[in-house]
């Protein structure tokens, strides 16, 4: 069944391209304008006065953006239509303009239309919605190469990370092989950088940056298994359109491809008590060699690994705060 869905998705992608080129330029342009923060550069974090989603960090995330814009066009048209009807009714059928009310209370034709048309609109949404859902939830087995051909994704292309949500920080576990070929578990905690320490930490964002970031190799597929040790938490990464709950006693799974280098932020997304707002996620995608070095350092001492990654892949400078001074 998934093959059918994946093929459908491919065909739909072609259709979408055609639609984009031929029919929906205007709608896409409007929707596109809404998705970029007002006057902001590309960023993997929230942006002041933003109107839409954070820029997409992967192909799947791009598809989510596209789908959101597509549905936005539809629901905006519907809302404008209903507003127009209300305006028309107010102008044309107020007591002054129309002193004698009509008496009708039925019209079979219109009733059929306003039942069937919504069904068709919902269908038009659903044909893109289901492939998008399956794409996000089902781990891919094939990837499309630059020459347009498909290749199997090898097990070596996957990095598996176990993530534990705790009150009130995240713990990450990565399997690695040490020099003797034995499996070692690299384990570290990621805690929010305290507000007082933000000014002295270059590039750190208040409520977003963590002391130890989660580092990932560019180009690899990431499989993340999620659990929690006390209450329900939720691991979210808006730039990748990811969010999966970390539930005690349950192992959940998500996947994504680490495509673009950069620093990415997310925040816990399930109310978990006092410091729910203060257990963020910081992720850095770095070249494979930097990841390998970071991982081997982390096997011994996470502080050394963090110092190393802050040297070779530091956070970009913090944006100037647009809002008024405190």
């Amino acid at each position: 069944m998934f093959d059918i869905v994946l093929n459908m998705r491919e065909e739909l992608r072609e259709t979408r391209k055609a639609m984009r080129l031929h029919g929906l330029k205007l709608g896409a342009a409007i929707a596109g304008a809404l998705t970029v923060g007002a006057g902001a550069a590309f960023a993997n974090e929230p942006v002041a006065m933003a109107l839409g989603p954070q820029p997409a960090a992967s192909a799947v995330a791009e598809n989510v953006t596209w789908f959101h814009n597509y549905v936005m066009v539809i629901i905006t048209v519907i809302t404008i239509f209903v507003t127009f009807l209300l305006g028309w009714v107010i102008l044309k059928f107020n007591a002054k303009a129309n002193p004698v009310p009509a008496k009708f209370s039925h019209n079979t034709a219109i009733e059929v239309i306003w039942t069937v048309a919504p069904v068709l609109i919902l269908f038009a949404i659903a044909i893109f919605s289901f492939p998008l859902l399956f794409e996000q939830d089902v781990e891919p087995t094939k990837q499309k190469l630059e020459n347009g051909e498909y290749a199997e994704i090898a097990p070596e292309d996957w990095v598996t990370i176990k993530t534990y949500g705790r009150q009130w920080y995240w713990s990450y576990f990565i399997d690695t092989e040490n020099a003797d070929g034995e499996v070692e578990v690299v384990e570290f905690d990621a805690r929010m950088i305290a507000e007082d320490d933000i000014p002295s930490t270059p590039g750190a964002r208040r409520n977003l940056s963590t002391d130890n970031p989660l580092v990932l190799p560019q180009g690899k597929y990431i499989r993340m298994n999620l659990a929690a040790s006390d209450v329900i938490h939720s691991w979210a990464m808006p730039a990748f359109r990811l969010k999966t709950d970390a539930v005690p006693g349950r192992l959940n799974q998500l996947w994504f491809k680490a495509e673009k280098l950069g620093v990415y932020y997310g925040q816990c997304s399930e109310l978990c008590g006092r410091d729910h707002a203060f257990m963020p996620i910081e992720m850095r995608i770095v070249p494979q060699d930097q990841y390998d070095q970071w991982l081997s350092l982390a096997a011994n001492d996470i502080d050394e690994a963090t110092t190393y990654i802050n040297q070779v892949a530091p956070r970009p400078a913090a944006p100037v705060r647009v809002a008024s001074a405190q």
Binding site: V47, A48, M49, A50, P53, Q54, V64, F67, H68, V71, M72, I75, I78, V82, L85, V89, F93, N94, A95, N98, V100, P101, A102, F104, S105, H106, N107, E111, T115, P118, L122, I125, A126, S129, F130, L132, L133, Q136, D137, R206, N207, I232, S234, A236, R241, D245, G249, R250, N252, Y265, G266, Q267, S269, L271, G273, R274, A277, R321, V322, A323
Partner: protein, 557 residues
């Protein structure tokens, strides 16, 4: 009733069918404590809801004031502050519970439902008047327990109150809050549930058995239809909440492990049970409002409601489908993709009957001769704003994009549009439509209109920017947020301030009308107010329809 039925629809403010003798003094405590009068009980529900609404509105004020600027200003945990971040979570939790269980439901179902359903179907009272009174008086006890829960240990001695959201998810609500606060809250909700279940039974029995001669189900006013369907939803959904609450109680106090994985339990099972109730609950909150809007739009367009049968059965369809979509609140828990896909499809289906209703209200106005009275302003505002809230619901129904939007301010914006700008607008619409009928005095029209416009501007200013916040990634239930989210949070708080002025105008108008006491008419709205309450005096006699009205003509709903 053995007296001969007489034709009553032409009689206006006729006291033959009423009975003022035996009406106890307004100042008699027994009249209110031991009431068996649906109108008195309806008034008590409305007063209770107003009181709870003020508290709920104050709680949301604390939220918006804290969120105006990044950083924690008021929930710092320091001496003299409002508490710490745990207390902020308590405030958000209690805001939701108060508004849902102690404001919207009591006002629409307990208030307007009790007052008007018996009259509209030509009955002298509800089927079980004494049980009706029990339903009401359980509510102040329930609310008292809930309020008390804020001031007893929640997490520990210093962290008082339950701060786990109105959804009460374990393990946060079990091992996460060992103090007695959560137990008080569970008991509070058990009692509120009993109140609503008993009330729902009363409505079903009344509507199915006590319609006046000639009033078949298909001639019943749409508000009565709405209450009938709402009552069925209550009777079927609330016991599931009660079960879930009881399981929380036993997990917390009697060693069960329903939701504890260490004992083979599953926190996700709670979510299934809760949302099996929770989703019908949101339709319970809006369906009575749908009924009110149908009455108001018809009256002030001087036209019968377009497509009466479709309107009635659309509400039934919404109610029925509302039972099979619950897991769209759970798209991120780790559900299998095929199951998610089912819930996406089922959720989108609800848009069809809802669209039928929106278009039918517009078609009722089409060709009409509309007067823009205050109730009509609220009704038109509702149609527009509920559409906005409804379409963001269509966006959220799609799991593929909900992964991005779940637990963000986009969801907060969506449900406040359909609740604060949907259900609450129907509440105020009904309030002004039926004000002079219930109280025997006219409302102050200029202040009422000002109330509408300030509320319209204010609530839109609060909640529209929250769509932007959610899209850009701001999570909900957060006492503090990354600096980038400041701008829209600030705008949202300004909107709250305007809404607060609107509420002051509302209460001022109410007090002014009570001082001026301009005498009400039996039917201020003209010949197109066709339901039975407009044939009675304002206020109606203490007992109406000692002789049942006979409904002859079918039209004019």
């Amino acid at each position: 009733m053995t007296t001969e039925p007489t034709i009553k629809r032409e009689a206006v403010a006729d006291h033959h069918d009423g009975d003022h003798t035996g009406a106890p003094s307004v100042w008699s405590p027994a009249r209110w404590l031991f009431s068996t009068n649906h109108k008195d009980i309806g008034i008590m529900y409305l007063v209770f809801a107003m009181f709870a609404g003020v508290i709920g509105f104050g709680l949301s004020g604390m939220i918006r004031i804290e969120l105006m600027e990044p950083g924690v200003q008021y929930f710092t945990g320091l001496e003299g502050s409002w508490g710490d971040q745990h207390n902020y979570n308590v405030v958000t939790t209690m805001h939701g519970l108060t508004m849902i269980f102690f404001m919207v439901m009591p006002a629409l179902i307990g208030g307007f439902g009790n007052f008007f359903v018996p009259i509209m179907i030509g009955a002298p009272d509800m089927a079980m008047p004494r049980m009706n009174n029990i339903s009401f008086w359980l509510m102040p006890f329930s609310f008292g327990l809930a309020l008390l829960s804020m001031f007893v240990p929640g997490v520990n001695e210093t962290a008082k109150g339950f701060g786990g959201g109105w959804v009460l998810y374990p393990p946060l609500s079990t091992s996460g809050h060992p103090g007695s606060s959560m137990d008080l809250l569970i008991l509070s909700l058990h009692i509120a549930g009993i109140s609503s279940i008993l009330g729902a039974i009363n409505f079903i029995v009344t509507i199915l058995n006590m319609r006046a001669p000639g009033m078949t189900i298909h001639k019943m006013p749409l508000f009565a239809w709405a209450l009938l369907i709402t009552a069925f939803l209550l009777v079927l959904a609330l016991p599931v909440l009660a079960a879930a609450l009881t399981m929380l109680l036993t997990d917390r106090n009697f060693g069960s492990q329903f939701f504890d994985p260490a004992g083979g339990g599953d926190p996700i099972m709670f979510q299934h049970l809760f949302w099996f109730f929770g989703h019908p609950e949101v339709y319970i909150m809006i369906l009575p409002g749908f009924g009110i809007i149908s009455h108001i739009v018809s009256t002030f367009s001087k036209k019968p409601v377009f497509g009466y049968l479709a309107m009635a059965y659309a509400m039934a369809a919404i109610g029925f489908i509302g039972f099979i979509v619950w897991a769209h609140h759970m798209y991120t828990v780790g559900m299998g993709v095929e199951l998610k896909a089912y819930f996406v499809a089922a959720t989108m289906v609800i848009a069809v009957p809802t669209g039928v209703k929106i278009f039918s209200w517009i078609a009722t106005m089409w060709g009409g001769s509309i007067t823009f009275t205050v109730p009509m302003l609220w009704a038109i505002g509702f149609i527009f704003l509920f559409t906005v809230g409804g379409v963001t619901g269509v966006m959220l129904a799609n799991a593929g994009v909900d992964h991005m939007l779940h637990d963000t301010y986009y969801v907060v914006a969506h449900f406040h549009y359909v609740l604060s700008l949907g259900a609450v607008f129907t509440l105020f619409a009904g309030w002004y439509y039926w004000f002079e009928k219930m109280f025997g005095i006219k409302y102050n029209a200029p202040l009422a209109a000002l109330h509408f416009w300030l509320m319209f501007i204010g609530t839109n200013m609060i909640f529209f920017p929250q769509h932007f916040l959610g899209l850009n990634g701001m999570p909900r239930r957060y006492v503090d947020y990354p600096d980038a989210f400041e701008f829209w949070n600030r705008i949202s708080t300004y909107g709250y301030m305007i809404t607060a002025v609107a509420m002051i105008v509302f209460f001022s108008g109410l007090i002014l009308s009570m001082i001026v006491r301009k005498k009400a008419e039996a039917n201020p709205w003209g010949e197109y107010a066709t339901t039975l309450e407009w044939t009675l005096s304002s206020p109606p006699p203490f007992h109406q329809f000692n002789e049942l009205p006979v409904v002859k003509n079918a039209g004019g709903h």
